[in-house]
């Protein structure tokens, strides 16, 4: 089922963030949202994730099983990378699978350290693996490659492409290169939607 956002408005105090915003996020496809800072991209994701209720308008078709890479990493600081991923995984995902995924995106050698001791880029990758391995029908990605260097970003983008599987994905970014590399449907905020 497609996710349909219809005429959604949201204000924080006297500051309107979304004004009658509408969009369709096709099922099992990647949709990328671009727009200048403060245009309401993260607020829209928060509404889709269920953290914030819109003042008016409606959202339909959001699956029950969700996963996300948040703007902040939101990791459990005193636990290592494997434990952080394990936290959200079902029993079907064993420890070796988690380790293989973390190693694939360059975290070999840092698996036993508490995530508080990892660099910003490493923590970001842990958050990405966590979102990918969680059993979900929709994946929300809020600037997922923030803080990654060029080579790492390329590798992580490839990892994401290979492992997103058949699920709806909605990504927020500022970077046109990421849009080109990942493809999918592009929505500019506020504005039109384009298929790449």
């Amino acid at each position: 089922m497609d996710i349909i956002v219809s005429e959604v408005s949201k204000s924080f105090g006297s500051n309107p963030v979304l004004d009658r915003f509408s969009a369709v996020f096709p099922e099992n496809e990647l949709t990328i949202i671009m727009g200048p800072s403060g245009c309401g991209k993260t607020t829209l994701l928060n509404i889709l994730m269920g953290f914030v209720s819109p003042d008016s308008g409606s959202v339909s078709g959001v699956p029950e099983h969700k996963s996300a890479v948040f703007q902040e990493d939101r990791l459990c600081e005193s636990f290592n990378a494997v434990s952080n991923v394990r936290l959200v995984c079902s029993r079907k995902v064993d420890k070796n699978t988690i380790i293989a995924h973390l190693e694939r995106i360059g975290l070999k050698g840092s698996l036993s350290k508490p995530v508080s001791e990892l660099s910003g880029g490493m923590r970001r990758r842990v958050a990405i693996v966590r979102a990918v391995l969680a059993e979900s029908d929709v994946l929300f990605l809020d600037e997922p490659f923030k803080g990654l260097d060029y080579e790492t970003k390329k590798a992580v983008m490839q990892y994401l492409k290979d492992n997103m599987g058949k699920r709806t994905a909605i990504m927020v970014t500022h970077d046109m290169d990421e849009v080109r590399a990942l493809g999918g449907k592009l929505i500019t905020m506020p504005g039109e939607s384009v298929s790449l």
């Binding site: 994730m49 269920g50 953290f51 099983h65 969700k66 996963s67 996300a68 948040f70 902040e72 939101r74 459990c76 600081e77 005193s78 636990f79 434990s83 936290l87 959200v88 508490p114 966590r130 969680a134």
Partner: protein
């Protein structure tokens, strides 16, 4: 750096003992101030007395029980108050009263309700309860809301939430509550025994020391109380640390 600090501390203790010894020698009246050497001698003679260990066990079991009861109840009340704000408001006058009323008032009041034998359990419990409750509630309130959102989104089970989010965030508050309240449990528990004078307790020995004007006994039992309090605190905090390390490593 730590070795240097330990050396400084050891030197400070030696200095304090020297001042004490010099003061006692100047006064030259063991009734007013006994020398540290005499205290050590009395301490060793106490160790050989037949009822020494039963006296220590009597007070230890009751004070430590009071502490554990308060730890469990304070934590439970904090969880409930953290979840339901009206409970926090309802508990506020009780906790404030316990914190501000002098311990001696409670001891005398409780002597009317309870047998003197178990008075130290209740008084230790009462003095520790608001400290554990306040610290735990503060910890619960400062739990990272963004982590809870993450857990909600990923449909993390409550047991995993407890292990990965709540317990690690509460850890510093639990340590702080325990390290402050263990000493207080001992102080208030012994005070309850001194006033209630239950047979075979450390408090009774302190009371006898007062009656017979035996400064040596008073100082020796005080050293024993301090040693028991510190030993229990160190052991308990060590085990707590191990428990948390086990949880985080599991």
């Amino acid at each position: 750096m730590s070795d240097k600090r330990n050396m400084e501390k050891a030197a400070a203790i030696v200095f304090a003992l020297v001042v004490w010894q010099a003061g006692a020698m100047l006064l030259n009246n063991p009734l007013l101030l006994v020398t540290p050497v005499a205290v050590v001698r009395r301490l060793f003679s106490l160790l050989t007395e037949p009822d020494f260990f039963s006296t220590v066990v009597f007070s230890f079991v009751r004070i430590v029980s009071g502490f554990f009861l308060a730890l469990a109840s304070g934590s439970l009340l904090a969880v409930i108050a953290g979840r339901f704000r009206p409970v926090e408001t309802l508990l506020w006058p009780f906790m404030t009263a316990i914190k501000s009323v002098p311990v001696a008032s409670f001891i005398i009041l409780c002597l009317i309700w309870l047998s003197s034998k178990n008075l130290s359990v209740f008084i230790s419990f009462l003095m520790v309860l608001p400290i554990v409750y306040t610290n735990m509630l503060q910890g619960i309130k400062s739990t990272d809301a963004k982590l809870l959102e993450m857990a909600w989104l990923f449909r993390v089970s409550w047991i995993k939430k407890l292990k990965y989010i709540h317990i690690p965030q509460l850890k510093p508050f639990i340590f702080s509550a325990c390290s402050v309240s263990i000493g207080l449990a001992w102080k208030s528990g012994i005070a309850a025994e001194v006033i209630g004078i239950p047979d075979g307790s450390i408090g009774e020995k302190l009371y006898e020391a007062k009656v017979y004007l035996s400064s040596g006994d008073l100082f020796a039992w005080t050293v024993i109380i301090i040693s028991l309090s510190i030993a229990f605190e160190k052991l308990f905090l060590f085990m707590l640390k191990k428990l948390f390390a086990g949880l985080e490593g599991a």
